[in-house]
Amino acid sequence: MLIINCPYCGPRDQSEFSNGGEAHVKRPDGSKEIGDREWGEYVFIRANPKGLFYERWVHTHGCRKWFNCVRDTSTDEILVTYKLDEKKPNLNNFKSVVKTPSGEPEVGSGNFTVEK
């Protein structure tokens, strides 16, 4: 469970929001010729990284506004939220806890309780 900082309303409980998947995926312009591959990737293919991720959320039970955020999928921490028309932040500005080769965070993966 998270507290999400809606860019319009301020910090609110996660239960008021809905997740909208990867952010900054541009819908191909329908007035132009679109190849099968290009369209298929837009409809079906989304990134699913462990670590920092641009993501869309909507304040469903609030202002109904969509906005973007950077979330660390390995810790669930939302690092920043920003309006749709704002520039996307550089991921290098954030520290990801994912450091180990397998992508597990050093602490908190939940797979063990004692340091190995």
Binding site: M1, F112, T113, V114, E115
Partner: protein, 992 residues
Amino acid sequence: MKSINLKENQFIQFHQKISFKFDGVKYFGYKGDTIASALLRNNINLVGRSFKYHRPRGIYTCGIEEPNALVQIISEYSEPNTRATIKKIYEGMEIESQNRWPSLENDFGSINNLFSPIFTAGFYYKTFMGPHKKFWKNLYEPLIRRAAGLGKPPKDFKGISNHIHHNVDVTIIGGGLNGLLAAKSFINSNYDVLLIDFEEQLGGIINNSNKISLIDNTEPKNWLKETIQEIEDSKNIKILKNTLVTTYNYINHLIAIEDRFVGSKPIEGKVNSTLHKIRTGHTILCNGHIERFLSFQNNDLPGIMLSSSFEKYMCRYGLAPSKEPVIFSNNSNSNSLVYSLIKAGLKPKAYIDSRSGEEIEPNLFDLIRKNDVPLYTNSQIKGAFGNKKIEKILVEDSSGALNEIKCDCLCLSGGINPDVHLFTQSKGLLDWDEKDLTYKPSKPFQPTITLGSASGQFNFDNLNSDINEKLKTFKVKKLDVKLELNTNTKYNIEKLWEVSPQKKSLWAKSFIDLQNDVTTKDIRQAITEGFDRIEHLKRYTTNSMGTDQGKISSINALGIVSDLLDKKVNEVGTTIYRPPYAPLSFSAIAGRNCYEFYDPERKSPIHSWHLKNGAIFEDVGQWKRPWYFQINKDESMHDAVQRESKNVRENAGILDGSTLGKIEIKGEDALEFMNLIYTNSFTKMKQGSARYALMLGEDGMVKDDGIICKISDQHFIATTTTGGAATVLGCMEEYAQTEWPNLKVFMNSITEQYATFNISGPNTREIMKKAFPNINFSNEEFPFMTFQFHEFNGVPIRILRASFTGELGYEIYIPSNSALKIWDNIQSLGKEFGLAPYGTEAMHLLRAEKGYIIVGQDTDGSITPIDLGLSWMIGKSKKDFLGKRSLTRSDTIREDRKQLVGIIPSNKADKLEEGQHIILDKEIKSPIPMLGHITSCYYSSTLGHDFALAVIKNGHSMIGTKAYASTSSMSTTGVDIVKPVFYDEDNKRLVS
């Protein structure tokens, strides 16, 4: 075991007697007593039978860690597995012991103890395998369930729980010495602080033991009173008492449960517990430590108790469970019990320590010598013996000689563990301390701070510097507290997990988990059989899987396993600690979201009329919709539906369509937006006309349908399916905001603002004329798929000529508040024309006769408009709309896609069913290719037989051919594949 009452204290009032019943017998306790302390006061120590072997069990501890003393509270909806060591008594409380029959003293199930050599780890897995699978379900499981287990599930439960949310800067868990000191630092600071304690009184170790003699040169009790007062007076600190933190989630999210009826009977209809959902910046864990036990033969006998628990009964409840207990320890934590006993004028019958004389603290040595307490150093208890209670113990002293000591009580201490449960739930990592022989918190994962014994600081020397150092991230006062101890010692422990029994016997039992009846022998056996990973071992033996989660024993098991495997304990690891810390009732989690509040019920403005007129309701999403109307109690659903549908075809029917989703779309660019959202083109559509429209997903599949009314290029009203309203509005919002923010368009739901009546049937025009005499309903003035705004008796209404039944029909939209009056009016006016209400089932039948689809019933998210035969609805000249490009994907232009067709039985008398598979062969021989399935199926009295809609592979080209529908009895019914229209194919009635 003979107990005696000591001095009265602030927690227990000897002048306030309370009567309660245990197993039907009346006893007395005092105000402030727990069930356990009250039973001990009455010299009752046998309180239950064990899980597997039905062994007699007594009160082992004085707190939440209790594995044995679980009771059923008859007077509280028969709440089972209640810890007697926590639950406070009240006048008239009724308690029963668990897992015994016919009585606690003479329990038939104790025969299991005789057979115990065969009930070892994995017994059930190995034994109850055959001869057939059914044996488990029908014979073994019911038998085992009868014989094993703890309390009985309550028959009915009406507990009410509230949920409260907190959002604070700091949460301090545990109001003991360290918790209070931490809270003291935050007094009048700028931080919002929550201090949570499980008990009714703050103080922890100050109340529970005689360890501390002076704090800041004052009596600990006086210091406590002053400090609590200061904290209570501080405006930024809120104290939650009787509140147990059960869960520590990600992002510092805590769940805590507050008991609202401590020491009194819950009042029916009143909130009896509060679930606190806490979000906090930092969590400070001050939840202390738990003493562990030791394993030796019969270490489960009633009369055996943890030593700190004995001391807690003395200090907290003014009660010594025994006048002369024997103490057995391997560490210095039991020193203060010796001190407390002697201070109270009692003395231990013997003090047995596995440590050598040099290791034992000098001041304990002096105390024991001065009071002539028999002392056994370098000694171990080989076993405890007695019938349903401890009668004697066998001590092996330093010379190896055996000594028998008669006793009625044995106090054990196997060392102490920081209560790391919440710390590990927060995903922090532990580290094994070789000196103190326990796991201690090492790396936190979240902003978690541990203080005091919860952090593994078992001594008090660095109290101030430790707290000041760990709280330095906060702008708070520095502490300088002076502490003086009665037993001035450093924590010291010698490794001892288990003492092997004197005589080898199949019946000799040294328990490692008291609640689940796991013995040290089970652990050995599991390792021999290869279950040597701790998580496997736990599940195979069920060690630490009881409701106490092995709070006093799980570390001992790790110690034994590490010795057996000759591995370091850190290598063995621990099993993962999972929430909740202690059992949490489902009613507390459900809160108020139960019964009628489980899911909101939405009712149309006409609901009261439906109730009065025999409506049987159906749930559609959250809506209550009339399914059909019963004209008398004997009318079956089939009869009612046929009567209603026939009446629509012959006279006229009225349906309450208020639940249909209605969305109003406005704005400069509304037309362009609608063209992008729906497949249809609205550009050339005239103002005042309506159009049936489809909405697709980007994958080209049908997501919703509805009728779009065009008021102008800047103003539309769309209807949606009843269940899809929120999704459609959500989708419109999403695209308006994220993909086309340049379009000036706004949308809002008006579903509940307007009621909708769907009137249809050949007599409809006459009824409408009569109901709205000022409106011209002729075909010329009011053609099909147009709408008009009117005012009726001062009420603005919109009438749309459309139909979902295939008959001449009108939809009337009326502001909800005025709807019922107009509905009543139409009902009485319509009587002479045979108007009757119909429900959703008749509506489904009527629309299916016309081949109109229902999104979600005839489609399933894998059906395109082309599959439905609705290509005419696609605005092909439009540059773009949702899902347009997907309609030419290789997958969507395949010829063998499942397509909508009609199905009728070849033999008209045959019955069809929804969900039946359509196949080509008469005989079912697996594997058999499946063409598709029936999505809607009804009997029609208009047609005189069953008919169905189905989606089948390549269906459009199969129209006119024959196939078979498989039945559940593995036979088939011959069917004809036909066009999905069964009635009035050329729409004569629709436009009449």
